[in-house]
Structure formats: structure tokens, C-alpha cells
Symmetry: C2
Subunit: 341 residues, 2 copies
């Protein structure tokens, strides 16, 4: 396959860049023949993936995600890394527009030859968009980008989707976050590996207060009961102590660049710990299996809803279940019987 | 149908009691012909259901659920109510035994003619057990029990299942709960309408501390973003203020009976508010639809897993996805194609 070669063994950086764009466009296509080609492409690239660090970044509009990712990307490039930035923006699936806008948001990073920025796919359900982003991530990895950043805004289930495809999930917050902890969605607190208070220089007192408050909120409700986040444990077999990551809160100012080095130091520490205690590989394995089952469930449900007899019966039975004249379990059994016949 | 008559228009209390037991046994049967009869029975009873208040109660073993439910049940019977107690015990599905034990736990209530106590169905998955409990609830309602209590222990997803079939979800806690908030599962905090600190007389200081701590935890993480729990809102159409329930924490000692009246007063207030603001009906409608779709999803997944070609291929593809040699999305598409052919 020519496209595979142009991604894995490109004659030039420009050739590879065009091949990546073409590959991702192929992955995003809904045409059946394209989908077959896309699956072949993915299968060919897969042995060359998995060596990048996958970093998820979320935060509400206005928190400074673009400035942060641009500063981080340039910092990493200066250290010799190649950086890909992908986006999951649920707003783009609804309106065709996008909260995150296009890649011109990161002016310096987007023109850098060691960076690759791809905006959110703009059609389909969140599941479809997330699937395409996940596949685009594999293309970038095969092309040799060793840090892949997946960013999202805090809308709907998009953080869960991003956390479900990355090695580490970071949440950006504003300095006043501590005054309004309720604004932080519980679900996000539970999956955050690292919380970053951005624009900390704007109000140092507020940022420090927020750091303390979010730290205690993370202790109470973050990752609790999650074995990944027990501080340390005894290895049952060898008796040696195994260390685990504890979610933490850091300050930063992406605009002045202050705190970027401390951020990357934390990421590096996280990565080393997770590699040593086996969680990095385990998380990826779980993610892949969870992803497979999620797509299967979605596919089954879609086929069910499109079944002619189900389509005819569903509105009637739904009305009866709503009205309380038909038991939900009876309705489910009737519909399943129709679909299976 | 004789059974329907014996439930709706019984010649005596004893006849009805036997008919209820027989109906629930029929619902719990896995035989296909029984299932058809059970669906007919449910459909016949359904118009006579829905008038009971459905109260969910959860708490870890040792918190005093049985003592509490017995005290509450006897209190309600003295006020003229008829009380049914059903149980979802996930441990019974695994071991055949049960954390909650049998109905002899509630000695006085279980022999009372205005009470009906049914232990957890003891086989199948949690989904199956929850479905049977949900259907048993409908039988009890049709038989004229006007308070149905569904109890569960805090294991796995059982609280969510109980909250998904009741009008109000109450969590029992011990006085020392505040010292170890982490022991309270986040998910439960999110769905609790009322938290009761039981055995409050054992340590008054601890109970008061726990009450304050759980109250602030509920403010931070309980039901947030849930429109059911906004304190008050303007009705868009009429401009009048609509009041909503705010989750709260109360103390009680089920052993001495202190706090039972305050508990029931809170339940009565909740019920009146939810009826006035429309949430009672809306919650039941949502529950019925959610339940229908959950059963459909489970049925689809089961049929998928039992499909001969899927059974042959699934272990191979799962291994490849785990090992990272096959993309999760490609595996999902392959398996779906096999199942749909």
C-alpha cells in the first residue's frame, strides 16, 4: 500500500504530512469501500503504533487550552520530540461549527514541521468522532510522533472519551475554580490524573486557594477505590513495594511559560511510575477492549433500531411504556423477539 | 386468569398472600412457557399498579437496615399502610447465599398480615435479579401494598438498580461515616435523596459531625447538575416558582425508634414536592424507558455472544486487540459483520 509506505518510510517530511492527512481523511470517510481500505491501512500501521505517550487535555472554553498546548508543544519540540495534536469537539458534531475552532488557534505550533495538528472530525455522533480521533492517533504514532495530545472541551461525555484513549488525563482549571467546585463535573474529577490551574499569575492568592481545595476534593472523590491510585502497595509475589501515582494539582501560566517544565516533569514521573508498576500497559489493554465492546454495543443498537419490524413497533410500545400500560420488561422482550426472528 | 383475580379481588388475606407468592415465583421462572404466562400476568396487573410509594434503601452490612426497615414498617402499619419489602442482594447471585439473609431478620414485620416480605431472587445476573424485583414490585402494588420498600447492600451496581426503580433513594450510614467519607461510594452520593445516620445514639458527637460532613459532601457532589435538585426555579410558562427537593441528612436510632417519625415526615415532604413539581411522574417515565432499553441492550449483547460465528471468532480477536495487533474498531466491525450476516 503506497499510503502505508509514505507514512512509515517517507521520502520527505512534506510527503509524510500529506500522507497522514490523506490517511485520516480516508478513516473519516463513511463510504463502505473507503472503510475497507481504512481497516487495511490501520492493520498495516498497527505494528508501528504504541510507542508514543498519549496525553489527554480537557478544560472549559476560556481556560487557555490552545495557549497551553502551543507552549507545551514548542517546549517538547525544543527537547527533540515530535508532537501531534488531535481534537474531540462534541460541538462540531451538532452545529458543524466548533467551540475549539480550527488549527490557526496555535499559530506557531501549527506551522512547525515537527508538529501535526488536526481539528475535530465534524460529523457523526460523539462515538463516531471519538472513534475517528482514536484511529487518527494511531496514524500519527505510526508516523513517528512520540507525543500525541488529544484535547477536548468539557461538554457531555467527551472527557470520558478522551480519558479512554490516552495514557494520562489532565484537567485545566482557572484560578477561581476553588470558589466554585461545583462547576467541576464530578465525573471529570474521578478520572483526572493531574489538575493544572492555568493563568495562576492572574490571581496568585486565588490560585493557591484553588490548589488546596481541588487537592482535598481529589482526595475525597478523585479516583477513589481505583487501584491505579493507591499510593503504594506490596507486590504479592515478590514482597517488594510497588508505587502508584497519586493525582495532584499544579499551578501554571501558559502565557508566560511558567510551570510548563514542572508540568512536563510531572508527566514524565507519571509515565515512569505507570511503566514500572505495569499500569501503562494494563490501561491500554483495558482501553482497547472497552473500545471494542463500545463499538459492538453501538453497532448492535443501531442495527436493532433500523430493523423494519422494530421501527414499526418501537414508537407504539414506547408510548405504552411511558403511559404505564405496558411493563418495560415485556416491551423489551417483544421488541427483541421481533428483531431476532 | 385465576391468579390475577386472587391478587386483585382476593377472598381472604391468606389467599392473596399465596397468590402473590405464586405470581412472583412465576416471574422468577426461566422456563419459556412460564415467561409467556408471566408477561400476560404483568400486563393484566399493570393498570392496577403505580399507586404505591416506592422507597429504596441502601447501606452496608452492619448499618442496621433490617432493624430500620422493621421499625419503619411497623410504624407505617400502625398508620394504616400496607408495606411490602423486596430485596436486591447481588451476593445471592454469586454464592447462592445472601448477605441480607432471609426474611426471619425482621421477626415482627414478617409475621404481620399487613406486611409482605420477599427475599432476593437467588439466581442470574444482577440485571436479571433487578428485573425480577422490579416485576415483583408491580405485583405487590396491584395487591394493594401502598408502600413498597426495596432494600439493597452497597455492593456493585445494586444501588443504581434500586434507585432506578424507586421514587426516592435513601442511604443509611453509621455515625463514624464522616471520619471516612471515602468509604461512601461517589456514585451513591450522587443518587441519594436522603441520607440517614443510623445508630446515632451510640455516639452523638460523631453522628453530629457526620451529619455536617455528609451535608457538605452532598452539596459539593450530590445530584449536582441534576434538575431534580435545583432548590427552586421559575416555571417558564406561568412565572410561578416551582420548588424542588434538596438532598438532606438526618439522624436516627432505629433500635430505640427515635427519628422514625422525622424520617417519614421527610419522605412525605419529598413525595408532596415531587408530585407538585411533576418530578414523580417524570422520574417513573424515565425509569420505565431506561429499563426497557437496558433490557434490550442486555438481550442484544447476549444474542451476539451466543452467535456461533461470534463465539468462534471472539476469543481470537480479543487476544489480538489485547496484544495490540488488531485495532479495536476493526475487530468490532468484523464481529458485527459476522453476527449480522
Amino acid at each position: 500500500m503506497l499510503l502505508v509506505d509514505a507514512i512509515l518510510r517517507p521520502a520527505s517530511a512534506a510527503v509524510q504530512r500529506r500522507a497522514i492527512a490523506k490517511a485520516i481523511t480516508l478513516l473519516e470517510s463513511t463510504r463502505a469501500d473507503h472503510r475497507v481500505q481504512a481497516d487495511e491501512l490501520l492493520t498495516a500501521l498497527l505494528p508501528h503504533t504504541g510507542r508514543a505517550f498519549r496525553l489527554g487535555i480537557s478544560g472549559v472554553p476560556g481556560v487557555g487550552k490552545s495557549t497551553f498546548i502551543e507552549a507545551l508543544g514548542l517546549y517538547l519540540i525544543a527537547q527533540g520530540h515530535r508532537v501531534a495534536v488531535l481534537t474531540i469537539d462534541p460541538s462540531s458534531t451538532v452545529s458543524g461549527g466548533s467551540i475549539l475552532g480550527d488549527k490557526t488557534r496555535m499559530e506557531k505550533l501549527s506551522v512547525h514541521e515537527r508538529a501535526y495538528i488536526r481539528p475535530s472530525p465534524s460529523s457523526g455522533t460523539l462515538g463516531g468522532v471519538a472513534e475517528k480521533t482514536r484511529e487518527a492517533m494511531l496514524v500519527c504514532e505510526a508516523a513517528g510522533y512520540d507525543v500525541v495530545i488529544v484535547e477536548t472541551v468539557g461538554v457531555g461525555q467527551s472527557e470520558t472519551a478522551v480519558a479512554g484513549m490516552t495514557d494520562m488525563f489532565c484537567l485545566l482549571q482557572l484560578p477561581n475554580a476553588g470558589d466554585d467546585l461545583q462547576a467541576i463535573k464530578k465525573g471529570v474529577m474521578e478520572i483526572a490524573d493531574l489538575v493544572v490551574i492555568n493563568k495562576a499569575d492572574l490571581d496568585v492568592a486565588a490560585a493557591t486557594r484553588a490548589q488546596a481545595q481541588i487537592t482535598s476534593a481529589l482526595r475525597l472523590f478523585g479516583h477513589q477505590g481505583n487501584p491505579e491510585h493507591a499510593h503504594a502497595a506490596q507486590d504479592a509475589r515478590t514482597g517488594t513495594e510497588v508505587r502508584y501515582w497519586q493525582p495532584r494539582v499544579q499551578q501554571m501560566s501558559a502565557l508566560t511559560g511558567s510551570g510548563i517544565d514542572a508540568f512536563w516533569a510531572a508527566v514524565t514521573e507519571f509515565k515512569a511510575l505507570q511503566a514500572a508498576n505495569g499500569r501503562l500497559a494494563a490501561r491500554r489493554e483495558q482501553q482497547a477492549l472497552a473500545w471494542m465492546w463500545e463499538r459492538i454495543d453501538a453497532g448492535l443498537k443501531q442495527a436493532f433500531r433500523q430493523h423494519p419490524r422494530v421501527r414499526a413497533l418501537l414508537p407504539v410500545l414506547t408510548r405504552q411504556v411511558r403511559a404505564g400500560t405496558l411493563a418495560a420488561s415485556t416491551a423489551a422482550r417483544n421488541l427483541l423477539a421481533q428483531a431476532m426472528e
